[in-house]
Symmetry: C2
Subunit: 528 residues, 2 copies
């Protein structure tokens, strides 16, 4: 077979083949394709997968423009030695490719622009900055199709650009229905065959992940989780079955540019898996994902050791009931990677304390986290707003938080890439002076004055150009902000709950006094 | 001289003498009196003090009823060998004596009643339980007399039974006036004589501490603090001057039953004093306080090592900006003594984050602390409510917190003495069962189910008689409470902010579902 096909850069090219359906092709047939760039000469080897009834696919994600030739290799002669050529055209409007770590993407001037914040940031592979504002719908693809469609419609109107979602169904409070489709052949009555996948299930998953991509939403795919029941048993499969499943997931989904891998939700509630299991599972995913998507794992009570090399970033759940996204400062220090607090608690009124926050408290946690240059993920758990609970089923959103998250995205959209959290553990040798008097400062160790200036609130600074201060639950009547000498500044008073930005008239030098007087306020100071 | 005088038990007996005014009697004249109980034979030796113009006093706090004889000893013959007899009558209504640690007071059945909570509790010396609900007016006795009188009038209407107050004036934001009276002879212009005290200053302090006692308010006297200015210099006196002052304070005030000693406010902002200085200063106070009042010291950023034997209790300031009175659980474990969080943050709108909390947030911190069997102290810092700011000057209260603290005192008034915080670090082997399903419990280590039941909220329990659960900022639509088998229970729904207690109709067994749906709720369950 020969073919010349055009595909957009960073969009999946799918090679569909027909071969044997004898025996169990899922396990028996090996299929690969090698893709070689005419521009660079680089070759990418991609593992294919079976999809039932003699159908095979190889999915390729082209990252280099121009011509690519490919050839297949298989132990099934009818699948082997198929070759062809594709032409990769420039990426279209809004297509920025995969989200990776900025440290993998940024070069030259862009790399410089991140400064010391480079290790903590994400970026699209074309260099466009990416800040995750995720949400959570664990089992949305296991709901009736009509509910899935409503979820997509809700997401289309939402501020979210990432979603945490499981592959397997979820058995949990307020969340006990059986799905219409399962990932495997078989049934709850007769059991499931862990060597044969159920194509209709995966075709639905293909479609939903593609819909998320169209909406600019990263699919943070949770591969395993503990919230299971005996009739399902997907949390209790033998290691070989886990690895076979992980390999299939990577082969089938790695060519979607918007995929992230989360090995598990609350890995520490799965005592049947060892830490070495998780490391091996990561290797299985990596071996079958030639496109190196982001990889992490999520805790319940014990934060994972994200220093392990396979982890591209941290995907934490807050462990202290009170001190939640503030811990992002500690996790950044401990792991030196981007930190996403994927469970800061949810807005809602569910039975448990992880899911009955007010919108005000969830938005406060968002700001506390992002002010520390981490990222925070939304969830919603109202149990009295209809059949679906967003965090599990999707459906509709009912809370006050999403509108404030949209507002927040706008505020941070122009954050300088190198904006640095002022760490109150230390003094800061930068252009920003200290207001006098700072009570007690004379009693402090030399150099501590600058830490004392903002000991109580998180601060972000970029050189002498930019300062953002967030007051959270505090409500000073006013605050005085000393300004770097020799410049004039524009001052914005931001009501993070009221969603207003009031720019003070004129420009300021030396210092500015800003009236505040209510909670959840922020002050942004930019060089005029 | 002979005299028979009647004095009430736990009330000061003051022996006034006249002697030399030559030289400097403050430093030159030694005066003691020995008091011997006819009932028990015990002898208490009390150091006297000079008060100017040839006047001397010895102040005695009688703790045993019946006759006491006394005799003086001095190197001034005109003061020596004065003897007499007093008769100590039973304590009057509402006079319970000193506040001490329950472990020093409780014997027999009362001791049993405290159970494992004994080390963490206070008690009046007559055995009446005492829970501190303090407030803070650092410099109230350094204000104009008219302001001091208004402060006393406000305290008379307040729920507070303890006050943190400095001896020396305070120099700080919103707080820069010079006092009318200083503790020493001399002046800001000519300097102060650290060997000669200013009697009018101390007569005012005598009167104010007596007024507090009449109101049932413990005077938590802060002996030293850093908020000073050069023209005063009371934070910078040489060690000998500090010790002379501390000795004088103890001799003059130890016989007031409502006195507590706090060596310093924010000792760690006084680098000119070493840790050994504080230990020696404690010994000086103890040597001159035969009545063994409570003793502690208060931190700014570094919590003191309250394991030191001289510390009777912990007097902490929250060190984490977010996790405040929740830390009381840790401090109890670390120090094994009563824990008072004397600075959890204040209600108000002052410039700094320690003093611009809403009433809701301060009351939440009160509940989080008391639910962990610690104690929390109030302060108020509105800068736009007239000339006085309560935390520094006294005057009037303007906030929403005091009324809620009064309500809270009533709720905790009947708390069983042995009520124990459910420590979510561990399982609890008690009569209280676990609701099923507790999601995820089956994944947990054996025995952890009971911890999981209330992982999110603080709980107090006494046997199977009493359970109190506080929801803080959480707002579940409802919560289900499993009940110990074989009993029936009365259930109160407490709105800690709205100050209402709704008792559910009837009694309950096995379990009870309680509708909540808003923040700051508590549920009290008592055996019918």
């Amino acid at each position: 077979m020969t073919a010349i096909e055009h595909v957009e850069r960073y969009r999946m090219f799918e090679l569909s083949l027909t071969g044997t359906s004898e025996g169990n092709p899922y396990t028996d047939v090996a299929l690969q394709a090698s893709f070689t760039s005419e521009a660079t000469g680089e070759t990418v080897v991609v593992n294919g997968f079976y999809r039932g009834r003699g159908r095979y696919s190889v999915r390729f994600l082209p990252t280099v423009e121009g011509g690519w030739t490919y050839a297949t290799h298989s132990d099934d002669p009818t699948l082997s030695d198929k070759s062809g050529r594709i032409v990769v055209d420039p990426a279209g409007e809004g297509n920025h490719g995969r989200v990776l770590r900025a440290s993998e993407v940024a070069r030259g001037a862009l790399r410089e622009a991140y400064g010391a914040q480079l290790p903590y940031c994400f970026s699209y592979e074309d260099g466009t900055p990416y800040q995750p504002y995720g949400t959570t719908c664990y089992a949305w693809t296991s709901q009736p199709v009509e509910v899935q469609d409503r979820t997509v419609a809700t997401l289309a109107k939402s501020p979210f650009n990432k979603i945490r979602m499981c592959v397997f169904p979820k058995h949990y409070d307020f969340n006990n229905a059986d799905p219409e489709l399962f990932a495997y052949e078989g049934s709850m009555g007769e059991g499931f065959d862990h060597t044969r996948f159920n194509e209709p299930f995966f075709e639905n998953l293909d479609r939903r992940i593609a819909q998320l991509d169209e909406l600019g939403i990263e699919a943070d795919i949770i591969l395993l989780h503990p919230y299971d029941k005996p009739e399902w048993g997907f949390s209790m499969m033998p290691t070989e079955a886990d690895e076979f499943y992980l390999s299939y997931m990577a082969r089938r989904y790695a060519a979607y540019k918007n995929v992230w891998w989360s090995l598990a939700n609350e890995y520490d509630l799965m005592p049947q898996k060892s830490l070495e299991d998780w490391r091996r599972y990561a290797r299985v995913v990596m071996a079958n994902d030639p496109f190196n998507h982001l990889r992490s794992v999520h805790n319940c009570v014990k934060v994972y050791d994200y220093n392990e090399a396979w982890c591209t970033h941290c995907s934490t759940q807050r462990v202290d009931v009170t001190r939640t996204t503030e811990c992002i400062a500690d996790w950044r220090r401990e792991f030196g990677k981007p930190v996403v607090c994927d469970e800061p608690g949810y807005e809602g009124n569910i039975y448990w304390g992880w899911g009955n926050l007010t919108g005000e408290e969830l938005i406060r946690r968002f700001w506390e986290g992002v002010m520390r240059r981490g990222y925070v993920t939304h969830g919603e758990t109202f149990i009295d707003q209809g059949e679906q609970v967003w965090w599990a089923h999707g459906g509709e959103l009912h809370g006050d938080a999403p509108a404030r998250i949209a507002f927040m995205r706008d505020v941070f959209a122009d954050l300088p890439l190198d904006s640095t959290p002022l760490d109150t553990d230390m003094a800061h040798d930068d252009a920003w002076p200290v207001a006098t008097p700072v009570s007690g400062e004379t009693m402090l160790a030399p150099g501590m004055e600058k830490a004392v200036q903002y000991w109580d609130v998180p601060v972000l600074r970029s050189g002498d150009d930019y300062q953002l201060v967030y007051f959270g639950w505090y409500r000073p009547a006013y605050r005085e902000f000393p300004l770097p000498k020799g410049n004039r500044y524009v001052v914005d008073v931001i009501d993070t709950w009221g969603m207003t930005i009031d720019t003070l008239p004129g420009t300021y030098e030396d210092s500015v006094r800003v009236d505040l007087g209510r909670q959840y306020m922020a002050v942004r100071i930019r060089k005029a």
